[in-house]
């Protein structure tokens, strides 16, 4: 209908012979009016229902927080094309951005947004906190990191490493921001290898004080969020040296600034300077010059030092002790994984909406140009990413639940799942945003359009709280350990979703039909097959190295390629499983039907991974069938594209001008205003 209408209009224009007055040419070109996708696209399912499924929890809380942001001048509201958009002014200096980030936090604090974040307990509080982080992250990465450092790292360390007197002393003041915390773990010389840090703490039993010292330049604390400007207190990680014995890495509380913001004696602080993104966060460097802190400042849930200087710990094994110390980082990792999914949503919602309004090239002369999303190639670029975002969204919801329902027994699962999902979601995020940027063409390069700028802001995700490559290696090592343990238990796998290893190896039909390819059982089989085969191969290769007398470390290091493939296979399969489970909660209907297509598109995109051909899990014919089915699914999902991105539940104000009336947003009258 649209085409017919446009065509008639163009023909009419040609037929009307009286030449238009000159001013007409200047005022508007009829062919390029913006046509809102809301009026041409149909919603085949209830978008608010899909949003509830995707967000999973605390929808009202999210909406209130969105409203708090949109209604305040502090969040830099700007009108483009008649709509309000909120986003920080990234053209501000680093100093100004940091100042604004802090003002926004103060505003949220006054509105009670952080109420119960430290003093409250239980699943509900933690889930609500995750929801708030997701919303704030949609506004700006800096504000969520600044809050994350204070609440999850500083606050989390007090909660997890501290004992009652630490909780009583610090948690309420943390929640009310009477103190501002930071987290000094990373050093110039040591990042992922925390056990190698060089800061040293000794104990003086005469005064009952610990003495923290930075012995050399490579021991300076580095990248400490909040340290350069605002933080008053920090958690310090250091080697605890008691009576000449190094007891390993321990955490203490140290004050670094007074209430007026003056740096404390024996503390030196320098700025990390301007960064490629996240300039609203004041990352700093800290040197400790024999700083004395009271004995009570040792966070002593795992180990303590008696007043007379004796080291006491219930956990004798230093490896286990160290693992206990790192567990609070899990919350941060969960946050990063979830946030990466929401950033992908922003990028894709913008790119899809733009592709539904931007035209390029006509198929025939005098025909209207074709909408970008009506090109199969453009569908192929964006729609598999849409499916991936849906899948990761369910994965993220599962991860959050796993975390808030944690038990001592589930620690290992949480560690493995959070590590692999963090790596997968953040890597995917960068890949998705890059594709979306390109799909928006030149418009993607404008900071106000968000999609390009998100790359710089979120690049850090693959590094902080665990380098992605190292996390993935840890996943493979954990799977190796599971395999060895299962062999000891008569080959029975339990946990991490590896139970499929106990069953016979799935067989892929030699001729894959469309029906089979869309069947979730087949999809699951194909994903399990790859995981299983890669795990077998990895174990075999590592065992071979061990048999040759090589060390375990060396064996893992030399088999890094298989380790990477295996980590990915585990992650894809685990995420797929959460998709299937989410789908199973729905009653039959259009929502479930559309979601089923999305699931198939996700699964088949995973099957396009090069490992399937490299190791021969799929025949060349079957790989071709998979590829063909993907294009079919893309064209079938094209009519649902708007509904599927609207279901992300991101308010218009958090997208960007090119997602809406970009012609009016760029009109001359908008320049004059």
């Amino acid at each position: 209908m649209d085409r017919a209408y446009q065509r008639t209009r163009i023909l009419t224009n040609h037929l009307i012979l009286n030449s238009p007055a000159q001013t007409d040419c200047l005022t508007s070109n009829e062919c390029l009016s913006y046509s809102p996708p809301e009026l041409s696209e149909k919603y085949a399912f209830d978008v608010s229902e899909m949003r509830r499924l995707m967000d999973g929890h605390d929808v009202e809380e999210r909406d209130r927080l969105f409203g708090l942001i949109i209604q305040s001048k502090l969040f830099n509201p700007r009108v483009r094309g008649g709509k309000v958009f909120v986003s920080p002014d990234y053209n501000q200096s680093m100093e100004q951005q940091r100042e604004m980030t802090w003002k926004r936090i103060e505003y949220l604090l006054e509105r009670g947004v952080f109420g119960g974040w430290m003093t409250g307990k239980g699943e509900e509080v933690e889930m609500k906190r995750f929801a708030c982080f997701e919303v704030l992250g949609l506004f700006d990465h800096s504000i969520s990191i600044k809050l994350g450092v204070h609440f999850f790292l500083w606050g989390g360390a007090i909660q997890f490493f501290g004992t009652k007197h630490h909780h009583d002393k610090w948690l309420r003041d943390t929640e009310n921001y009477l103190i501002k915390g930071c987290f000094s773990m990373t050093e110039l010389g040591h990042g992922s290898n925390v056990r190698g840090i060089e800061t040293v703490t000794t104990y003086d039993s005469n005064t009952g004080e610990f003495i923290i010292n930075t012995p050399c330049e490579s021991a300076q604390k580095y990248w400490i969020g909040g340290a350069a400007k605002h933080a008053t207190h920090t958690i310090v990680f250091s080697q605890l040296n008691i009576n000449g014995t190094n007891e390993g890495v321990h955490a203490l509380i140290a004050q670094i600034r007074d209430a007026d913001g003056n740096v404390c004696p024996n503390i030196r602080i320098a700025d990390c300077g301007h960064k490629i993104g996240l300039n609203g966060v004041d990352n700093g460097r800290i040197w400790f010059d024999n700083v004395r802190v009271p004995r009570e400042n040792l966070l002593n849930s795992v180990a303590d030092v008696s007043p007379d200087g004796k080291y006491l710990s219930a956990i004798k094994d230093p490896d286990q002790r160290f693992a206990a110390f790192l567990s609070p980082l899990t919350a941060g990792r969960v946050n990063i994984a979830v946030n990466a999914v929401y950033q992908s949503k922003v990028g894709l919602a913008i790119a899809i909406r733009y592709a539904l309004t931007r035209r390029a090239f006509s198929l025939k002369a005098n025909e209207p140009e074709v909408l970008l999303l009506d090109y199969p190639s453009h569908q192929r670029r964006l729609l598999p990413l849409l499916a991936k975002i849906y899948a990761m969204s369910f994965g993220a919801n599962y991860l959050k639940m796993l975390y808030v329902r944690r038990t001592p027994q589930s620690n290992k699962t949480i560690h493995v799942v959070s590590s692999s999902f963090k790596a997968t979601c953040t890597w995917s995020n960068m890949q998705i945003i890059q594709e979306c940027r390109e799909a928006c063409g030149g418009q993607g390069l404008k900071t106000e359009n968000r999609v390009g700028h998100l790359k710089a802001e979120h690049d850090v995700q693959s590094t902080f709280e665990g380098d992605n490559n190292i996390l993935m290696q840890q996943v493979s090592k954990a799977l190796f350990a599971e395999y060895v343990a299962a062999q000891k238990r008569n080959k029975v796998f339990k946990g991490l979703g590896l139970e499929h290893m106990n069953k016979p190896c799935p067989v892929i039909p030699s001729q894959l039909t469309s029906t089979t390819l869309r069947c979730s059982q087949f999809q699951m089989d194909a994903l399990c097959l790859r995981e299983r085969e890669l795990l077998n191969r990895f174990v075999a290769d590592v065992s071979q190295c061990l048999a040759r007398g090589e060390s375990k470390e060396h064996a893992f290091n030399t088999n890094y390629q298989l380790a990477e493939d295996l980590g990915k296979a585990f992650s894809d399969r685990a995420i797929f499983q959460t998709f299937v489970e989410a789908e199973a909660t729905l009653a039959a209907g259009s929502l479930k039907d559309v979601l089923g297509m999305v699931r198939s598109l996700y699964a088949l995109t995973c099957l396009e991974d090069v490992t399937y051909l490299r190791y021969g899990y799929l025949s060349v014919d079957n790989a071709t069938a998979v590829r063909r089915e993907i294009t079919k699914l893309c064209s079938e999902l094209r009519p649902h594209a708007l509904a599927l991105v609207s279901s992300f539940g991101i308010p218009d104000a958090f997208l960007s001008p090119i997602a809406f009336n970009w012609i009016d947003a760029n009109s001359w009258s908008s320049v004059q205003h």
């Binding site: 909406d63 949109i70 094309g81 308010p651 009336n661």
Partner: protein
């Protein structure tokens, strides 16, 4: 004159404009459906008598429901909301001259238009929570877009605004002294353009920028923001009570009293509606409000609408007995249910009429 005295809307056909005059002075120009959109450059909408439009004829709706069941009421609202949507998405600018009372449905007929002209006689209110209803006719769209949390304040309390306040908060786009209205009208009838910039500058020639009265609530936006940004109605009330201790200002205690007199169910669903509406386009707002109003009329969870109409409009004892009677008796789940589809065989969501896909003015596109 294309219309007789008996008709509810008088239509005057000028060369480029159509003037619609809402004519049922007795029922304070209650809305009806004979207002159609003539195909011209611009629409002027005004009232006759001392009001612009005091809203839908609620008493008649209640009467219809009593006689014909909730469907009759649903039918009324379906037509009204559809009209609201047409006005919000109409391709020609609408100038509403609000020289008098403009309440409820009257706001639905004017606030979605491009230009709203207030005068010294204007009196605005969305008083639905006192009636056991909620701010409808797309109010969750236009109230939620006022500065800060002023929309929550107006929607929950039903507070009245004068013309100057309407201009200050953005409900009105212009303020023209009533003495100049005949000249304004004549000038508008001579405009051969639908360009909002041109129309705006013409209205601008007759406009003034009077200053707010010192005691105007709009000067207390900081307090309103602090209180009405709270998460729940209960928390809004306690925030107001804290402010009342600190600053002993009359309007705060009036606000508390008004909230305590309003239907608790209405307050809760209204707050949620405004918060959700802030994140939706005008179409989805009306679809959602239609769901809500159907639930209200079915009376599954509360019959406050009927009780409110009895107490305020029919018996006029001004003493409604709300049920549930207290805020804390209304759970989130109950509030949720007002936003769900109506579980009734042949019930359907509000179907928004199709709009032209091309050449809608940008101010319309921005609302979708």
């Amino acid at each position: 004159m294309a219309s007789s005295q008996h008709e509810q809307v008088l239509v005057e056909e000028k060369s480029f404009a159509r003037i619609l005059t809402l004519n049922r002075t007795k029922q304070l120009n209650a809305l009806s459906f004979q207002m159609d959109d003539p195909n011209v450059k611009l629409i002027i909408l005004k009232g006759k008598g001392r009001s612009f439009c005091a809203g839908g004829d609620v008493a008649a709706v209640v009467h219809d429901i009593r006689a014909g069941g909730w469907r009759a009421g649903a039918n009324f609202f379906m037509k009204e909301f559809t009209l609201n949507y047409l006005m919000a998405t109409y391709s020609k600018p609408q100038v509403s001259i609000l020289n008098g009372i403009v309440m409820g449905g009257g706001n639905g007929a004017s606030m979605h238009g491009r230009f709203r002209v207030a005068t010294e006689n204007s009196l605005f209110a969305m008083p639905e929570t006192a009636l056991g209803l909620f701010p409808d006719v797309g109010a969750s769209y236009f109230l939620s877009r006022l500065p800060g949390f002023f929309g929550e304040y107006l929607g929950l309390t039903g507070a009245r605004l004068d013309g100057v306040e309407m201009l200050a908060c953005g409900l009105a786009t212009h303020f023209v002294p009533s003495a100049k209205l005949p000249m304004l009208e004549a000038a508008l009838c001579a405009v051969d353009s639908s360009d909002p910039a041109i129309i705006s500058s013409i209205i601008g020639q007759y406009s003034e920028r009077p200053s707010l009265k010192e005691q105007s609530v709009y000067n207390r936006l900081d307090v309103i923001d602090r209180c009405f940004s709270q998460k729940t109605v209960e928390e809004i009330l306690s925030a107001l009570e804290r402010e009342a201790v600190d600053r002993r200002e009359g309007w705060i205690s009036t606000t508390i009293q008004t909230l305590k007199k309003a239907s608790p169910t209405s307050l809760k669903i209204s707050l949620r509606s405004i918060r959700v509406g802030r994140l939706q386009g005008v179409g989805p707002c009306l679809v959602r409000e239609y769901r809500m109003v159907c639930h209200v009329m079915r009376g599954e969870f509360s019959k406050d609408f009927f009780e409110g109409c009895r107490a305020i409009l029919l018996d006029k004892d001004k003493n409604p007995k709300w049920e549930p009677s207290k805020l804390e008796l209304i759970t989130d789940t109950t509030v949720d249910s007002y936003f769900s589809k109506v579980k009734n065989e042949d019930w359907e969501d509000l179907k928004l009429p199709a709009r032209p896909k091309f050449n809608l003015p940008p101010y319309v596109i921005a609302k979708l």
